[in-house]
Amino acid sequence: MRQRDLFRPVLAALALSFFWPAAAQAHLVTTGLGPLYDGIGHFCLSLDDVIPVLALALLAGLRGAAASRSLIWLLPLAWFLGGLVGLSMHGTEPVLPVRAVTFLVLGILIALDAPLPQPLLCAAVVLPGLFYGWCNGVALAAGSGGMLGLLGIAAALFVCATLLSASVVAQRAPWTRIVVRVAGSWTAALGLLSVGWFLHLKK
């Protein structure tokens, strides 16, 4: 059967199903996977976590396929390990505007299209990964998310970093590289303004 012949019956069945809504009986409680989804949701809704991941993906994408391959494994791993430390330490997030400084540094590196050697790039991935993971771990320790929540976060950022860095690597037109660099300059501006905002509030 041709694909277009299937489309309309499937659409009609789907539309019909909307008229018989019933209470969801999702088995999240019995599987115990709720915190995993909480972790995914937490990452997707926390812009201060998403921005560094996007920035690192852009940076690795600019440096090519090998750098991106390193990123997609190192970043979730570092994030998860940092999260485990945060979970066990029960500390508090640092007062210093580390997040803002991360945006600034990563943004400048992207805007300059800095030719970072592989070890330095790995360090640029692992250090923020450990820090942000630790922050997430500390936050999860205060709630009930635990290790499954961390796994959810790591999975979500793996998908996000993979998709974005692969998109950058796949681009061949020179102007696309420029767009990435402009995004870097915006990230750096965001970081600098956030540092200023932090100091403004401290006054």
């Binding site: 659409l11 539309a15 102007w175 402009v182 915006w186 750096a188 965001l190 303004l193």
Partner: protein, 203 residues
């Protein structure tokens, strides 16, 4: 192969409409000040014609200069503007901010009107100095009680949008009529800048 299938497109549009009818309220964990921070940050660069005209003029001038200025100026402006915003946030005074903003509109209008060819470094320095004044004004006018990160993000995106608008307008430079239109626009910006300068000197 037919690129546009009308019936198929209608079916898809119908499905999307159906999905929208069943939309339920989002239960995202919005934190205090997030939405207000983004919208007020995004609205701020649009709040004054002096800012709007200067930023659009940067884009138009970049388009008139061609590559690499077309992307270099919109990269330089937000970064230096963020430095200005940072100085404004931490309370470092910048004398004659309003005069500087008015002069920026006036001079950028003049550059667009004259289709002024300039050395890239010189153009970046000029645009950077103007960005400093604009950023400082934004930094000192930040409303209290907003999320710094979201405000900064809205602010940077709005600035980039204005540059993008200027670049898009500047692309008509390739046609003789377009060049005349752009030069006229430059004259309008120049006159508006002169008006803003008179107002700033009176204040």
């Amino acid at each position: 192969m037919k690129l546009w299938n009308h019936r198929s497109a209608m079916c898809k549009a119908g499905f999307i409409l159906l999905a929208l009818i069943w939309a339920s309220p989002a239960q995202a964990h919005i934190q205090k000040g997030e939405v207000g921070g983004f919208t007020s940050g995004f609205a701020h660069p649009w709040s004054g014609w002096d800012h709007i005209l200067a930023m659009v003029a940067v884009g138009i001038w970049g388009a008139q200069l061609g590559a690499p200025a077309i992307w270099m100026l919109p990269v330089a402006f937000p970064m230096v503007m963020a430095v200005g915003g940072f100085l404004g946030l931490i309370g470092v005074p910048l004398p004659g901010t309003e005069i500087g903003i008015a002069v920026s509109a006036l001079l950028l209008g003049l550059m667009v009107f004259r289709e002024q060819k300039a050395n890239l470094t010189l153009a970046c320095i000029l645009v950077g100095i103007f960005g400093l004044f604009h950023g400082h004004a934004h930094g000192t006018e930040l409303p209290p009680g907003q999320s710094g990160l979201y405000y900064s993000m809205g602010f940077v995106i709005a600035t980039g949008t204005l540059h993008g608008l200027g670049i898009s307008l500047g692309l008509i430079h390739r046609w003789p009529v377009g060049r005349t239109v752009l030069r006229t626009a430059g004259m309008v910006i120049l006159l508006a800048g002169a008006f803003f300068l008179c107002e700033a000197l009176k204040a």
